[in-house]
Subunit: 207 residues, 2 copies
DNA sequence: AAATTACTGTTATTTTAATAACAATGTTAA
DNA sequence: TTAACATTGTTATTAAAATAACAGTAATTT
């Protein structure tokens, strides 16, 4: 549809949408670029530029129609049919992820969780069934799950990623501290909290 | 000491160090830039450039001395005295963070956790005492804790951040989906998993 | 009705990050 | 001994992101 948007713009679109949904439930139907900017603590130019990139245009002196903007963003970042997500590893982190998502109305559905510990499998967490890892490849394939969140300890991340790739996964969000290597057709986002905490420590030290 | 390094270089330094510690425990004492690069799945030039920026130099044809490099990175990202960290919000996420850290790093110590639920307070999690939020400001001040990890639900994040600021915090890692606004002297790193998952979904859709 | 104001949308510039190019040099091979 | 090689360190170039500058315009004020 639209040509590929800049990475950072996509991140902000997700945040705009959440902020706008909030705005809407507060009964506000129009919003200025500088108001959106304030909600996210960024600049108004940045907001207008992002909105320009997705091809929406507001009205002068009235700003943007909140509903329309939410819709447009949805058309860009959601698929019509929705996408299925699996969470691999039901430790604290895995459960946190599922908790964050449960009830959030979105086109991203967490439909399965996996763990290698039999005490944790065959149960429901935040509405999501947890299966044993042995069944992972099969279920991913059969259910055509396209996105996986890896929240297993570092030692297992690589093996999990390989299996996921073989099962045909399309995108991975990797919370483990082990950097992964994926074939080009699998989109990989690393998300490493140890690194981020050390980074904060560094900049605190500097300032 | 060194002048301020680029953001991304700092992130990678943290990852280099972890990879190098691994290498070392595997009994390897020298390493080439392309080997480090392979561990992180980035390019060798990137590695050499980062190492150049921190002012370390390897030896031709032998590569880098693993111990020395670990030390140098430590001098850059750690402080001599160490830094104290608090985790605010002991849900699944908070516990995941503490679990990841326990035992891992000596210079970055999680020394306190806080929660507003009395069922969770006055207990030890992963070796860290959890206090009631009422005591947060006092303890942060008295213990001179400089870094906070916010893992409370979005609704509470803003208030927590304000209190932390007043208590004199220097850096914040914000896991909540609510974007925060901090005075310039507080270093803020947002870390929003919903955004990241939606981003993965977008790029999966595009490819 | 003219000037001013408060916005949007777009282009231009700057900054930051990544990549490429290559010079320097000790090591090995011929 | 000379040529080829493997590796580092650095500068040059390109790409991505953020910021600044500004043109356009409907509403409001004078």
């Amino acid at each position: 549809m639209t040509r590929k948007l800049p990475d950072k713009t996509v991140e902000r679109l997700s945040q705009y949408r959440r902020a706008l949904l909030n705005t809407l439930s507060g009964g506000k139907h129009h919003i200025f670029s500088h108001e959106i900017a304030n909600l996210l603590h960024i600049t108004a130019v940045q907001v207008r530029r992002d909105i320009m990139l997705i091809g929406y245009t507001g009205t002068l002196r009235q700003g943007y129609d909140v509903n329309e903007l939410i819709d447009i963003i949805g058309k860009i970042i959601d698929t019509r049919e929705g996408q299925k997500v699996a969470v691999i590893g039901i430790g604290n982190l895995g459960r946190a992820i599922m908790g964050y998502f449960s009830g959030k109305r979105t086109r991203l559905n967490i439909v399965a969780a996996f763990d290698s510990n039999p005490d944790k499998t065959d149960k429901i967490y935040a509405g999501v069934p947890c299966y044993h890892s042995d069944k992972m490849m099969e279920i991913i394939k059969n259910e055509s799950i396209s996105i996986a969140v890896i929240s297993v300890p570092g030692e297992f991340a690589e093996k999990v990623a390989e299996d996921l790739t073989m099962a045909g996964i399309k995108g991975i969000l990797n919370f483990s501290p082990k950097p992964l290597n994926m074939p080009a057709h699998v989109y990989l986002q690393e998300f490493d909290m140890l690194t981020m905490l050390e980074k904060v420590a560094y900049f605190v030290k500097k300032s």
